[in-house]
Amino acid sequence: MGVMESSIKTSEAPLSRDDLARLVARDIAPGSFVNLGIGQPTLVSNYLTEDQDITLHTENGMLGMGPEAKGDEIDEDLINAGKIPVTELPGASYFHHADSFAMMRGGHLDICVLGAFQVSVTGDLANWHTGAPGAIPAVGGAMDLATGAKDVFVMMTLLTREGASKIVESCTYPLTGVGCVTRVYTDKAVFLTGRGGITVRETFGCTLEELQELVPVPLKAAGE
C-alpha cells in the first residue's frame, strides 16, 4: 500500500519520554480537567505550566492534585492513584470513591492520558492484561478511565522491545475499552484515531513513508 508524501510536521529525531510528555502537556487546552494514568503519563505533570490552569484528578478521590510530595510534605492520607504521596493545590476538593468515579464515568474529565500495550485503528485500547496463561489479572481504574473521559490520549513507544508495532489492525491483547482512544503519542509519531481510521499528525525522526514500514496498517497524513 503506497503512502502519499505530505507536508506534515516532522523532527530530526524520535522523541525522548520527556519530550513526549512535554508535547502532550502542550496539547492540553487551558482550563482542562485531566487524569494522568500511572507510569509514563505521570511525566506530563512536569510540563504543565501555571498559565494552562490545568486541574488534575486522581481517581482515589481528589481534584486539584499538586506535585509529588517531598520530605515533610509527605502525608500518608494524601496519595495519588499510583499510591505515591502527592500535594494539594489551592482550590482542591476531596470526595469518596463513587463520586470520584462518577466524575470520570459521567464524562466530566476533558482528557485522560494512559499507557498502552496496543491501540487499534478504530481506537480500541489494550493496556491492562497480557492475557498470558497464569498471569494474575488486575484492572484497577483502567476501564473506567478509558470509557469515561471526553478524550483519551495514549502515550507509548511505537514499537515493543521486539520491534512489533503497538498500533495494530486489531488488538491481540485483552481489551480495556472499545473505540475509546482519540490520540496516540509515540516516540516516532502522533496518531489520531476516530471515524475513518487512523491518521498521522506529525512524525519524529522519520518520514511518513518510513513510519508506514513500521506499522502494519495503512497510514495517511491527518487532514488529507
Partner: protein, 229 residues
C-alpha cells in the same frame, strides 16, 4: 443501633464465619489496620472480602489471606509487587477472585447502600470482564449490567466521629469509607478522635451516623511504625 466500644477486639467480635466483609482504604490511606488485625485475631473464617486490592506485604489483609481465612476476594487490583500471599493462594487455586473495574466496584457498593437493584454502565463493555454478563446498547453505547455488592460488615477508618456516629475523613483517606458504610448491614469504624455531639458542622458531615454501628477510637499514631510506606 450505635455503640461506642473500648477495643478493636470488641468491635469485631460479632463477625461470623462466612461473612462478606468490606474493608476500606486505598493503599495505606484509609486502611483500618487495627480493625483488620483484630479480625485476624478473632478467628472468623470462610470470608468474602471486598477491598480495592488483595493485600500487600506481610500485614493486614495479606495475613488474612495467608492464614486461609478468605474464601473469595472481590477487588479491582489484586496483583502488586508485594501481593505474594494472594499470588500464592490464587496460583494454588485456594482463593476465588472476582475482578471488578474500580469504578464498577465503587458504583456497585454505592448501589447496595442506595437500594438499587442493578445498573448499566459502559465500563467493561466489549472486554473479557463483561463475558457472561447481560449487555445492551443504550443511546448508541454498549453497556454492561452490574449488580450491587452488599456486605454483612464494613471495617472502615475515619478521622473523627461525634456522639451520634457522624463521620468526617481526612484527604484521600476518605475513598471507599462512605459507600462501604452504607452498603454493609453492620459498619465498624476506627477513628482517631471522638468528639461531642454538636462538634461537627452539620454541613460537613460526610457519613451520617445512620450508617454507623460501632465506633472505636484508635489513636492516629498507634502502630504506624509497622505500616508499609
Amino acid at each position: 443501633m450505635l455503640n461506642f466500644v473500648d477495643s478493636v477486639q470488641e468491635a469485631v467480635s460479632g463477625i461470623q464465619d462466612g461473612s462478606t466483609v468490606m474493608i476500606g482504604g486505598f493503599g495505606n490511606a484509609g486502611q483500618p489496620f487495627e480493625l483488620i488485625d483484630a479480625l485476624l485475631d478473632c478467628g472468623a473464617t470462610d470470608l468474602t472480602v471486598v477491598n480495592n486490592n488483595a493485600g500487600q506485604g506481610d500485614q493486614g489483609l495479606a495475613l488474612l489471606i495467608k492464614e486461609g481465612r478468605v474464601r473469595k476476594m472481590i477487588c479491582s487490583f489484586p496483583r502488586q509487587s508485594d501481593s505474594w500471599h494472594f499470588d500464592a493462594r490464587y496460583k494454588a487455586g485456594q482463593i476465588e477472585l472476582e475482578l471488578v473495574p474500580q469504578g464498577n466496584l465503587a458504583e456497585r457498593i454505592r448501589a447496595a447502600g442506595a437500594g438499587i437493584g442493578g445498573f448499566f454502565t459502559p465500563t467493561g463493555y466489549g472486554t473479557m470482564l463483561a463475558e457472561g454478563k447481560e449487555t445492551r446498547i443504550i443511546d448508541g453505547r454498549g453497556q454492561v449490567f452490574e449488580t450491587p455488592i452488599h456486605a454483612d460488615v464494613a471495617l472502615i477508618k475515619a478521622l473523627k466521629a461525634d456522639g451520634k456516629g457522624n463521620l468526617v475523613y481526612r484527604k484521600t483517606a476518605r475513598n471507599f469509607g462512605p459507600i462501604m458504610a452504607a452498603a454493609a448491614k453492620h459498619t465498624i469504624v476506627q477513628v482517631s478522635e471522638i468528639v461531642p455531639v454538636g462538634a461537627l458542622d452539620p454541613e460537613n458531615v460526610v457519613t451520617p451516623g445512620i450508617y454507623v454501628n460501632s465506633v472505636v477510637r484508635v489513636p492516629a499514631d498507634a502502630g504506624s511504625s509497622e505500616k508499609v510506606a
